[in-house]
Symmetry: C2
Subunit: 256 residues, 2 copies
Amino acid sequence: MDRSGGRARHSGDLIAALSGRNLAHNLHSDVLWDLGFAIVSGQYAQGSILPPDTELLDQFRVSRTVLREALKTLAAKGLIEARARIGTRVLPRNRWNLFDADVLAWHFELGPEVSFLQSLAEVRIGIEIEAAALAAERRTEEQAKLLMAAVDRMASARTPEEFARHDLEFHKAVADASANPFMASISALVEMALTAAFTISSPVNEPEALTQTVAVHRAIAQAIVDKSSQGAREAMRIAIAEGFARAAGRMESVDP
Amino acid sequence: MDRSGGRARHSGDLIAALSGRNLAHNLHSDVLWDLGFAIVSGQYAQGSILPPDTELLDQFRVSRTVLREALKTLAAKGLIEARARIGTRVLPRNRWNLFDADVLAWHFELGPEVSFLQSLAEVRIGIEIEAAALAAERRTEEQAKLLMAAVDRMASARTPEEFARHDLEFHKAVADASANPFMASISALVEMALTAAFTISSPVNEPEALTQTVAVHRAIAQAIVDKSSQGAREAMRIAIAEGFARAAGRMESVDP
DNA sequence: GCCGCCATTATTGTCATACTTATTCGACTG
DNA sequence: CAGTCGAATAAGTATGACAATAATGGCGGC
């Protein structure tokens, strides 16, 4: 059969693997990722109509069941909308659920542009600043300890992956301490942003950058421990802005 | 056949109808909403296992195709995860995509609690404050006009629905002017928050509240027109906080 | 000759059933 | 007692037929 025994895996798998998701590898997810990426990358333009079922069926060499489940998944994420006799239309981007982990991953798969990273940093600033402020008001003693511990682990990280993991852990702890379910739900966003940023440039390789990054994160933790919401806000803003600036700077110097 | 020709529609349909979505009514979406609501309402606890396919099949009296597509949709929204030999597990809430319009709608369907509205207001503050600030920096003349026009329409609204529609239009215009795709993508959230808030209490019925609300929104628009990002931030915070406070106050006085 | 209605037809939606694969649990064996 | 192998169970996949829906073009009436 021609199910192409060794279709090259997507680069996005690196991100997925790092974040411990996407363990299963079934046909449906193959089709899903191919189509999802094709749409996000503009291969199928917004507002255009996808090829009809029969054609896609032929293209992917899978059963109708598999194809339709993949399409339903895309529909659930707001990328497409199917209507009888019309076809399956690619929705305009403002209907896409950009906060979905997969949709985000597809964006990163075609080389994250600086402008995209910037947009991401902007929402993160909005959300995480509030999360930090709320955490400062509501954190328990337990949560305070966890935060400090995460910072310590960041400081002693030896590899970029290790650093990224503890950084993520820190931001999740902040979201958790905010006692706002939306903040926790957003961590997919943070995850992507962090892994992307560290794929481009990890502070681990630059001693002074590492010191700096750890210091800022410690400032956030300290402000939360001190129940200073304003302090937490300011420190968080700096942390995100610096992270983005480092990644952006690196990208521009490499890729004029 | 027993496909229960007249299953009572969900109350959430009010919200869906107001927002112009969910036009299609196919079997799949019926099952989806039933299951989605059951999960969100805690009828199937987090971490528990749903009944196996065969049982659900029997319960809903639909084909396997329909059931499985509904489950795939739920999986796409992060509510469940299927594994062979184990069953379909309800994921912990922090894996749910709370920014998904449907997931949000299911939350509102079981009577929005004050704490939930508050969480919603908190993220909105985080996101929309940044959106307003960015809009102030980047708005075009065109967008500035649209903003002002939206405020005028809010001021002259006669019915709660009309007011809500123009209010939403205003917030969308701000997101649009921010030139950040994530901000636009979040409007489902705003939509829900606004329709929910106005279902509880519309300023239209209280003259001084109306004047107040319009004034705050005009302040946001003016700040954006003046390219004052700090002014836009402060005005937006007030707008959201007041909207929440009014709804919360109303709820408590009615429902001790 | 123009307008509106209806049949055609293309496309998604639904159904039923059979078969395949993965994973756990438990028994069996070394 | 530990490791392996097998059976049972649940999801995953395949296939073919039929139903519902809605553009489109042709037909008939005005």
